[in-house]
């Protein structure tokens, strides 16, 4: 176990940033801490690094109690959203900083820095200043600087948040590759679900200061544990209805089998993803009739707003090629079925 957090809580001026949080991260894992802004994910990360002091709870790093160890002694690598490179130092001196303050031998420093420069593909940039680098290059220097003293864990706080979309994508792939090579236990904070789903092998979702779900990307996407996660991860339709018969809910022409233990008249919200709407021009079994109210081009997919009567609408997403081959047009009659959905009771 590389990082273990027990019952950690933190308040800021009456605002409960993190409440009673537990987590365990295996050595060598790559985990994302995903959540909307203000969910407490950065505070949790900063407490693990020792940059914030928790009110209650304990932190263990590689088996050692670290709750009251200063950030200086924790041997963690930390990467900031806005790089926090030392402006007045060259790339070389930035990366060497953690080694110099540990009074390492000059020859070892030289060797380690050049090794890291080649790892971050910036060999030959050692004499540049941070201002002479692009954002993506700066963030890679920041990662190298954090890795230089061989930390036991690497913590990244919205590492790609300040970069444009294209560079983000490149850096995602790069960080995956880096992790495969270095195997340092990595925890990164992000509000970008795509980033979490693509990069991490495990995702922790935070909301209102607590971890709401802990699972693999597929589990998070296909088995949301709460209303919040069903709405937060991926695009989704949601409809409110109630249990009308034992094990059945009805909404417009659609009939949803639900958990038979739910009491009659229980108010429920049903979530289903637009790409789980199966839409065809010809009727197939179990489909209902619908009319295309509006089509929206979204790059590789096309999103249709479907009118299913009774003033009810759902959205469906179809890969562009399929949509073009089917020749869907606005106003056209189509048939639709919902192939996967999640039911959550609404507490009244």
């Amino acid at each position: 176990m590389s990082i273990e957090v027990r019952n950690l809580s933190k308040r800021f001026n009456g605002f409960q940033a993190v409440k009673d949080t537990n987590l365990k991260l295996e050595s060598g894992s790559l985990t994302a801490l995903l959540g909307p802004s203000g969910s407490g994910k950065s505070t949790l990360l900063r407490m693990i690094a020792g940059l914030e002091v928790p009110d209650t709870g304990a932190i263990h790093l590689t088996g050692r109690e670290a709750t009251h160890v200063s950030a200086k002694e924790r041997n963690v690598g930390f990467v900031f959203q806005h790089y926090a490179l030392f402006k007045h130092m060259t790339v070389f001196e930035n990366i060497a900083f953690g080694l110099r303050v540990r009074k390492q031998k000059e020859s070892e420093i030289l060797e380690r820095v050049y090794e890291l420069l080649s790892l971050i593909q910036l060999t030959g940039y050692d004499k540049r200043f941070p201002a002479q680098l692009s954002g993506g290059q700066r963030q890679r220097v920041a990662v190298a600087r954090a890795l230089a003293p061989r930390p036991e864990v690497l913590l990244l706080d919205e590492p790609f948040g300040a970069l444009d979309a294209k560079v983000r994508e490149e850096l995602r792939e790069w960080i995956l590759k880096l992790h495969e090579e270095s195997h340092v236990t990595t925890l990164f904070v992000t509000h970008d679900q795509q980033e979490a789903l693509e990069v991490a092998s495990r995702i922790l979702i935070m909301n209102h200061g607590a971890i709401e779900q802990d699972g693999t990307p597929i589990e998070i996407f296909d088995k949301p544990a709460s209303h919040f996660i069903a709405q937060f991860v991926g695009e989704t339709n949601y409809i409110d209805t109630e249990v009308s018969e034992k094990g059945l809910a009805v909404w417009g022409p659609f009939r949803f089998p639900v958990n038979p233990t739910l009491p009659l008249k229980q108010k429920i919200r049903i979530y289903f993803r637009p790409n789980d709407v199966y839409m065809t021009a010809q009727f197939e079994t179990l489909q209902v009739r619908a009319r295309i109210a509006k089509a929206r081009f979204k790059g590789t997919i096309i999103e249709y707003k479907l009118d299913i009567g009774e003033d009810k609408h759902i959205s469906a997403q179809i890969p562009k090629g399929v949509a073009l081959a089917s020749g869907f047009k606005d106003g056209q009659e189509v048939y639709a079925a919902i192939t996967a959905f999640h039911v959550f009771p609404i507490e009244s």
Binding site: A49, G50, L51, S70, A71, K72, E73, R74, N75, V76, G77, F78, F80, H82, Y83, A84, L85, F86, K87, H88, F97, G98, V101, R102, Q121, L122, F129, A131, S134, G135, G136, Q137, R138, R140, R145, A146, A148, P149, A162, L163, D164, K166, V167, E170, W174
Partner: protein, 304 residues
Amino acid sequence: MSNENQEVIINPRQSGYDPTRALTEPPMVRFILIALSLLFLGLFLFVPLAVVFATALEKGIQAYGEAVLERDALSAIRLTLLTTFISVVLNTLFGVASAWAITRFQFPGKNILITLIDLPFTVSPVVSGLVFVLLFGLQGYFGHWLADHNLKVIFATPGIVLATVFITFPFISRELIPLMQEQGPEEEEAGMVLGASGWQIFWKVTLPNIKWGLLYGIILCNARAMGEFGAVSVVSGHIRGLTNTMPLHVEILYNEYNFTAAFAVASLLAFLALLTLVAKAFIETHAQDEKIALPPAHEQSRTP
């Protein structure tokens, strides 16, 4: 991550783009504005300065030399330099410490501290001087205790130093607080996580980031410490050769109708002021250059 996109840095100074071009006032208006500013500048700044040097040298270089090298004048110069040195050192320490505390920590009473730092700017220097007389003078709160222990503060060097330190203490912290606020704590946090101690962070991370602001504050503090008149005048007692600083010495000479000597010593002060201006300009250009070398993070879409 292939093919490097060469970034084109547009420097408005080099590309022939003239930002003043957009303001197209008629030539007549421009001429009048420029002439007015120059006239005003000449009348109120240049002429007095020239008069100081002209009057000082009126009776020749020898009289000037005598006035400046006279025993009491030298003593005044010594006292001014000593006072200035102590004030600058103390206020540098205080300024850095207070700016660090205010920008890096949360503590109760922080806003009161920020307000109090400005006090010497808002209080009349004469009042500041009187405060010290009330505290340390013979009739003051600590007067008896000081007299019993044979310590002299008022009408002696410690009083002059105290008054000068008090008058000049906002300069450095006022310069550093906005600077450190703008820079934020991230670089220092990065240093800490990388294993640096508090001192290492201060010398290697904080100080290089604030050095131009700090120097600028020191220059301003220095200028004011040398020139302070009001507060020092109240606590000094004007004892020739003992408790006279340069500004006080100038006043005494002037009141004795010894104009040449008064202006000679004044010219030294004016010369120091000019040196300060040069140093200030130098620092400003350097700080500016560093800012130009540090543009806000500019994202290239390609990285090699």
